[in-house]
Amino acid sequence: MATEENQSSNWTTVITPQRHLFDIDLKGIWHYRDLIWLFVKRDFASIYKQTILGPLWYFARPLMVAITYTLFGAIAGIETDGVPRVLFNLAGVVMWSYFATCLTSTSNSFVANMHIFGKVYFPRLVIPISVIISNLVSFSLQLLLFSGFLGYYMLFTDSGVHFTQYALLFPILVLMMAAFGLGLGLIVSALSSKYRDLIYLVTFGTQLFMFATPVIYPISMIPERFHWVVYLNPMTAVIEGFRVGFLGNSSFNVEMLAYSGGVIALILVLGVIVFNKIEKSFVDTI
């Protein structure tokens, strides 16, 4: 009996029906880090193969969206806190679209990779992580577009746009968006492995969520008594933080950011746990 117990300590893999809630295979994910990188490369290379403009398409989308909202904003007479309208919208849209693509593409992880998941094992978290990273590529290209506009307005116009010390928070803001998109996406993907309805709801829900976040309007437009609703939304601090850092004008304070960070961390942990619980048996239900 004793020898058997000694032996059992050398097993590399033990497969049992029950798994501990927090038993997350971080070591496994580290082992598969090359795979994460290769998935990122695959996503990038495969999307724009056989297109003439290639990665230029990354610019086109946010620009179109920002222009649409700018026209809409001009007609509706939406205030922009004295910031040029195009710049204001572009800042919001670029930031938001990174979060939104992270959310929608992670929520698809199980369904989109069903075929691979049914044939080979690797830590399933590899897929959503790689998705977050590959979205970073398009995000940085879009930032380039934004900085082009920013440079123009700073150098050639008298718009009063300026950097503040909050610009240094930028990496943290990106991390927060990634974590939030990942966390929410993991929850949705875990649930959607059984109830496919959620996938359709996600695109729609993200759109609604955007209008609940000060992306194309400033907080100052919201009546004072509804401010708490806006501040409850963890994305508010992210968008406002970005605007205060690069455009110099918005309603932002560090408490907001701390609150958002807390909520996002909670959602990420919840997402990882739910995903981890579902991943071992989702092949049977999907």
């Binding site: 590399t12 033990v14 049992t16 029906p17 082992h31 290769l38 080979v120």
Partner: protein, 399 residues
């Protein structure tokens, strides 16, 4: 020698029926009793150990639980109860080319597929030239794989898989791909892997491959493990059991019977001598073939060929040839006792016109087993030889 895979009372159940509103309600309110009734056990209480360096075959009919077992061992899904413990790195090949992306080049896909199978980038890079050489698609390695022929695709995919070096390798039927030459190459590579001291689990329908690669084999039948032992024994037991299901074939009318050019089989039957209910190595037996001729007056004859399950032809024998009108024709081929070695055989019947033109051939017309019998022997090891004729074999003292 130590145990590297320990499977303990492994079970896996699936819920029958579609998911819908009722399953959602069950999830919410946990209606346990209802779901218990709808369970299907794909695998039930399977236990076995695999030793270090052992090459274990897994056989069984479709739906016997082979794939479920592999999925559990390779962590694609998790068991309903029981456990599996594994020592060392596992790579499972349930399919070749998992994750191949059509838009990517051969080179990019080798890296991607290798990484999906658990190889590190540096590992793939160091074996890259070998992989490409093995696949034989050097010229197209920088072409997107969507332009590959299916043969090239499979060869490249298998080449990646063949260069995995895990401690435990799990393989499912990958040999069923590619042309004959490539299959031979794959079998060779598999043998190499097996001899290299790696532990291999091999699931296949190809009994010849299982028998030649695996020393031990387990047999799964409707979710439970019914046999484990030497491959030869398990395979012939399994085959003989399936043989009983096909000891003869009958057709009611020419319309539904197999045939061509005006000849159709009516029946193919194994005839045993009085008092015998199975064939052993000493039993003479007959093969009775009835067929309809509807092609008018012509000269016809039968050919019977006997094959081992591995596909080797033991003999080919030809009947008399006569002129026949339309009607039913019967031929009986008498096979003497003390001719065949023990094993499972398959019979092919051929109808020939003018002793030269083949009209129709029926493969696997009957499968049957010849059992071993050694009345005057005290030795029970393997009796070698494709045939086992009784020879006059004298022995005397001469001085």
């Amino acid at each position: 020698m130590s145990v590297v895979i320990k499977v303990d009372n492994l079970s896996k159940s699936y819920r029958l029926g579609a998911f819908g509103k009722s399953s959602f309600m069950n999830d919410l309110f946990g209606n346990k009793r209802e779901s218990e009734e709808n369970l299907f056990w794909a695998l039930r209480d399977v236990s076995f150990d695999v030793m270090d360096g052992e090459v274990l075959g897994i056989i069984g009919k479709n739906g016997a639980g082979k794939s479920t077992l592999l999925k559990l061992l390779s962590r694609i899904t998790s068991p309903s109860s029981g456990s599996v413990k594994i020592k060392g790195r596992v790579a499972s090949l349930l399919e070749v080319g998992t994750g191949f992306h059509p838009e990517l080049t051969g080179r990019e896909n080798v890296f991607l597929n290798g990484a999906i199978l658990g190889m590190r980038r540096s590992e793939i890079a160091s074996k890259f030239d070998e992989i490409v050489a093995f696949s034989g698609v050097e010229k197209f390695i920088d072409t997107p794989v969507k332009r590959y022929s299916s043969g090239m695709y499979v060869r490249l995919a298998f080449a990646v898989a063949a260069h995995l070096e895990p401690e435990v390798l799990i393989i499912d039927e990958v040999l069923a791909v590619g042309d004959a030459e490539f299959q031979k190459k794959c079998l060779g590579k598999m043998g190499e892997v097996a001899k290299g001291g790696r532990t291999v689990l091999f699931v296949s329908h190809n009994m010849q491959a299982v028998q030649s690669l695996c020393k031990e084999t387990i047999l799964l039948e409707s979710g439970t493990m019914t046999e484990k032992g030497s491959s030869h024994m398990v395979i012939s037991n399994y085959l003989s059991r399936t043989t009983k299901e096909v000891s003869g074939q009958y057709w009611d009318s020419p319309e539904e019977a197999p045939g061509a050019e005006g000849v159709n089989f009516k029946s193919v039957d194994l005839i045993l001598p009085q008092g015998a209910d199975f064939v052993d190595v000493t039993t003479p037996f007959g093969i009775k073939v009835n067929f309809w001729n509807q092609g008018g007056n012509r000269r016809l004859n039968l050919v019977v060929r006997l094959y081992t399950m591995a596909g080797e032809c033991i003999f080919n024998t030809v009947s008399e040839c006569h002129e026949f009108e339309n009607g039913e024709i019967e031929g009986v081929c008498k096979v003497p006792g003390d001719l065949l070695n023990y094993g499972v055989y398959s019979i092919m019947v051929l109808i020939v016109k003018d002793t030269s033109r083949e009209l129709y051939e029926l493969h696997d017309a009957i499968q049957f087993e010849v059992h071993d019998k050694r009345s005057n022997q005290s030795w029970f090891g393997d009796w070698p030889g494709l045939v086992r004729p009784k020879m006059e074999f004298g022995l005397k003292k001469i001085n």
